[in-house]
């Protein structure tokens, strides 16, 4: 009970107070200076926009969320797979790594129209953009984790004539899990950005659209309160996905550390 109360006072209360304070000052400023709504809408206007069109916002957030989760999952699978390959040989690593960096630096806005030309509009192209944007942190973190094994443990494995497979499965993989979790946290936020950017170019139908479409539409029509609402929905989506990944990560880490301490 005591710890719960202190958690509330230390972790929940201060940011909630700050939030309330900012919102109140924001509302007062927009009223006092009569700021037009296209420049800076008041918090009440934004809330009203979100409530008035809550069905639209909800379905758009769910669609974008689905795309982001799929994109993140694929990135995790592909990223760890590539890292396995990288960890097996220095030649593979040094010949392929520059192209992995390419993924990180490619201006997605420039290649998105090409992706649509190649793969058509719709879910598959949005997914591809999300994967391209969120893949790199997984590759680089997982690779680091797989190759930065304690040399003494590595010698031990050599001494016992462990096979490549045994070394990967029993030494390198356990070592890399904390690194993969760090990469997954970064990647989960990026997957949300990736699916929104993907939707800018590739993903909408007249009757079914995500947050990317809502952001473009409301910005095109100067509907700033709705634009703020859509951006806040995107941020919340990112926080939810990031929070889930962090939580799962910390659970795995606890077990993982317990396991390793048992093993020692």
């Amino acid at each position: 009970m005591k710890t719960k109360a202190s958690f509330f006072w230390q972790r929940v209360f201060p940011p909630a107070i700050l939030f309330g304070f900012v919102v109140i000052v924001w509302q007062i400023v927009t009223l006092a200076y009569d700021i037009p709504r296209y420049l800076l809408p008041s918090p009440l206007l934004i809330l009203q926009a979100a409530v008035d069109q809550h069905e639209q916002f909800l379905s758009a957030t769910l669609l974008t969320g689905f795309e982001a989760v799929c994109g993140f999952g694929l990135s995790l699978l592909i990223g760890v797979g590539i890292a396995f390959a990288f960890s097996q040989s220095k030649i593979i690593r040094s010949s392929c790594y520059p192209y992995a960096i390419f993924l990180q630096t490619v201006p997605i806005i420039a290649i998105a129209p090409l992706i649509i030309t190649w793969f058509g509009t719709g879910f598959q192209s949005v997914l591809l953009v999300a994967v391209i944007i969120s893949l790199f942190p997984i590759i680089t973190n997982a690779t680091t984790g797989l190759i930065s094994v304690d040399p003494e443990l590595e010698n031990l494995f050599r001494l016992y004539n462990a096979s490549r497979w045994q070394r990967l499965w029993k030494l390198q993989l356990p070592n890399s899990v904390p690194y993969i979790i760090v990469g997954a946290k970064t990647s989960s936020g990026l997957a949300v950005i990736g699916s929104i950017v993907g939707e800018f170019f590739a993903g909408y139908q007249a009757d079914q659209f995500g947050l990317g479409y809502l952001i473009l539409q409301t910005s095109n029509q100067l509907k700033t309160p709705q634009l703020f609402a859509a951006v806040i929905a995107s941020t919340l989506l990112g926080v939810i996905i990031f929070g889930t990944v962090s939580f799962v990560g910390s659970v795995i880490l606890k077990r993982f550390y317990a396991l390793s301490s048992d093993a020692v």
Binding site: Y38, T117, F201, A202, Q205, L216, Q221
Partner: protein, 339 residues
């Protein structure tokens, strides 16, 4: 090491000193200085923000610069290029520029969100907005748009109006890609376009575009309109009067003889080749000078058209009803002198 550093620092200072001298010399020549201040005192500086990169759609405004009509009216007009999502309305209403180029639907969208902008002149009577389809498809009317892919920009008022107005059976709507490459690849593909631009490019690349004009569907917002704020209109009507009159002169002249200005636009925006600009002007002329509005009346706007557009935007759910009074969105008080 220290010696080298001091030496190079000294060299730097010496170079700066000489460059500085070079710069001050022309300023100390009194004659040139005098003429410069004289001209800038006579002319009022004005900025005009475009809604897109310079193209034929803005030709009349550039013509007024190139042919010196603005200067004759006592204005030193600086035209600022736009681009995707150029915040023209925001800049004009915020006061960082006095004038802007926009479209009637955007003015109404803006006014619905408390943006204070007013249209003072419209070179276009008919909107250049269209949908291009393949000639092979046999489609000649909007009602025949069925079972194809249609690329239109999200949140565009025309695209929303289109979706409300037509059944669009089996039509897959995708975002406008910004070019015609997909159109050329896919026979079952239609896309939004400006009649003075995309059809030319598509034809040049071997395509067979046919344009369905938005105005034929009854959706016809004034285009490339000159906008300013109601504050500027009430505080400095003489400035607006000069700007409108010189811009109309520019448009009248540009539609007749655009070559010199097209070269100027091509210099500013090499993407726009001289051939596409020449095609553009030819396509624009019948949209600017019509039976109802002859050359002498270029720039005219009517209340009926603004009211109709406002009700269409309400129908398309782009604005809420009763948020905009179309009568306040434009004024024709500066158009009389050009008749």
């Amino acid at each position: 090491m220290n010696c080298k550093l001091t030496a190079s620092l000294f060299a730097c200072f010496a170079a700066m000193f000489f460059v500085g001298c070079g710069n001050t010399e022309p300023a100390s020549s009194p004659k040139k200085n005098f003429t410069e201040t004289q001209t800038s005192a006579e002319l009022t500086s004005v900025s005009l923000a475009l809604n897109w990169f310079p193209e034929a759609e803005h030709g009349g405004f550039y013509e007024a610069v190139v042919k010196g009509y603005y200067r004759e009216a006592g204005l030193d007009v600086r035209i600022l290029s736009g681009g995707p999502n150029a915040p023209v309305l925001q800049k004009v209403s915020g006061g960082s520029v006095q004038f802007g180029v926009s479209t009637a639907d955007r003015v109404l969208l803006g006014r619905a969100q408390e943006v204070d902008v007013v249209a003072v002149m419209s070179p276009f009577q008919e909107s250049p907005r269209c949908i291009i389809v393949h000639k092979k498809s046999g489609i000649t009317k909007f009602e025949e748009l069925k079972n194809l892919t249609l690329a239109i920009s999200p949140g565009g008022t025309f695209s929303q109006y289109l979706q409300k107005k037509l059944p669009l059976e089996g039509v897959k709507i995708v975002p406008y890609p910004g070019n015609v490459s997909q159109f050329l690849l896919d026979e079952n593909y239609a896309q939004q376009a400006y009649v003075f631009s995309e059809p030319f490019v598509a034809e040049k690349e071997g395509g067979d575009p046919h344009s369905l004009m938005a105005s034929d569907l009854g959706y016809n917002p004034y285009t490339s309109i000159l906008i300013t704020t109601s504050k500027t209109i009430s505080e400095n009507p003489a400035l607006v009067q000069k700007m409108v009159a010189a811009s109309i002169r520019g448009w009248q002249s540009y539609l007749e003889n655009p070559d010199e200005t097209n070269k100027h636009i091509n210099g500013l925006n090499p993407e726009m080749g001289l051939d596409i600009l020449a095609y553009g002007v030819k396509a624009l002329k019948p949209l600017c000078i019509t039976e109802a509005v002859p050359k002498e009346q270029l720039g005219l706007m009517t209340a009926e058209r603004w009211i109709e557009l406002a009700s269409q935007l309400v129908e398309a759910e782009a604005i809420d009803s009763d948020t905009v009074d179309p009568a306040t969105a434009f004024t024709v008080q500066f158009l009389n002198s050009s008749e």
